[in-house]
């Protein structure tokens, strides 16, 4: 009983710690990270607010923290920044207007690829060419085996 119990206890312990961790995963710091990684830092080249260590980005994260604690929804906070910094504050193309194109393009690319493959590559056609050649004689097969061993 004791022997079987220990692994089960360990397993439960692991589950519990990991479980609490995934509850903590919604902790405020992770929520900040989620919002901040959807915004571009206005003063740095190509870094998100989540990544950047610039003072502006640090202050933006602090503002995000304050707004989240005050109960604002992430979308509201993001809109706040877009109203001030324009569309270029967003880290992803908007899902309106031509931004949609950005999201459709890779899918369209793969779809076009698959369509091209379907059009150009025929599957399951019997291959006739192998039939042209008669099976090798035992002597030839032996020569082949020796030749291959040599080539190795």
């Amino acid at each position: 009983m004791k022997r079987a119990g220990t692994p089960i206890l360990v397993f439960l312990f692991v589950l519990l710690t990991l479980g609490t961790r995934s509850v903590l995963a919604r902790a405020i710091d992770d929520q900040i990270r989620d919002v901040a990684s959807q915004l571009m830092c206005p003063v740095c080249e190509g870094r998100t607010v989540a990544e950047s260590n610039s003072q502006l980005a640090t202050q933006m994260r602090d503002l995000i923290r304050q707004r989240l604690l005050a109960g604002d929804r992430p979308e509201t906070i993001i809109r706040y920044f877009v109203e001030r910094y324009g569309e270029s504050a967003l880290a992803t193309p908007p899902t309106t207007g031509l931004g949609v194109l950005m999201w459709l393009l890779p899918a369209a690319g793969v779809a076009a690829g698959v369509a091209w493959v379907r059009a150009r590559v025929r599957v399951g056609t019997p291959r006739a060419w192998e039939d042209d050649v008669a099976p090798l004689s035992p002597g030839d097969l032996e020569r082949l085996r020796r030749g291959l061993d040599e080539a190795r």
């Binding site: 502006l56 202050q59 503002l63 910094y85 324009g86 207007g97 031509l98």
Partner: protein
Amino acid sequence: MESLITAPTRRRWLRAGAVSIVIAALLTVFFAAMRLQPPHRNPQQGRTAPVFSLSLFDGGRFDLAAAGGRVVLVNFWSSWCLPCRDEAPLLEATWRAYRGNGLVVVGVNLWDAEHEARAFLQRYRISFPAGSDPKGRTAIAYGVAGIPESYFVERSGRIAVRVPGSLTAENVATTLASLGFRRP
């Protein structure tokens, strides 16, 4: 060398040409569609200036809401920024020249250490109100994306002009003229 162009090449050229034309057409359509989208409006200009309240280095307070009826030049600066040092005398001179005509100059210190900011004010003998924005809330509310950066707020409270980077004597003069100031 073999000749590049042989008898059946015409067909191939046509095909290659057709493919290139299609690609070029797609690219043109894409680019045109981008241009046809509503032109980008700079959000930092033309909207109502966010009100802010600043505790000043000299102990007082500055309230944008209380500046009603006057034009406000909001300047974001920092002691370590070289262009800010260059434009400090200009700001001081502007303040002295136009304050009687209803212009307020206010300096918002950003991303800085307090003692260095104070030293800066002393060195350039700044007399216009200047205070610090320690958490950057005001700067973010305006959409500041670099330093220095200046905003001219109209009497109605609208942001008339945003100047990213250094102010010059000319653009201060022309902007103020466009806001109805007469050269003193």
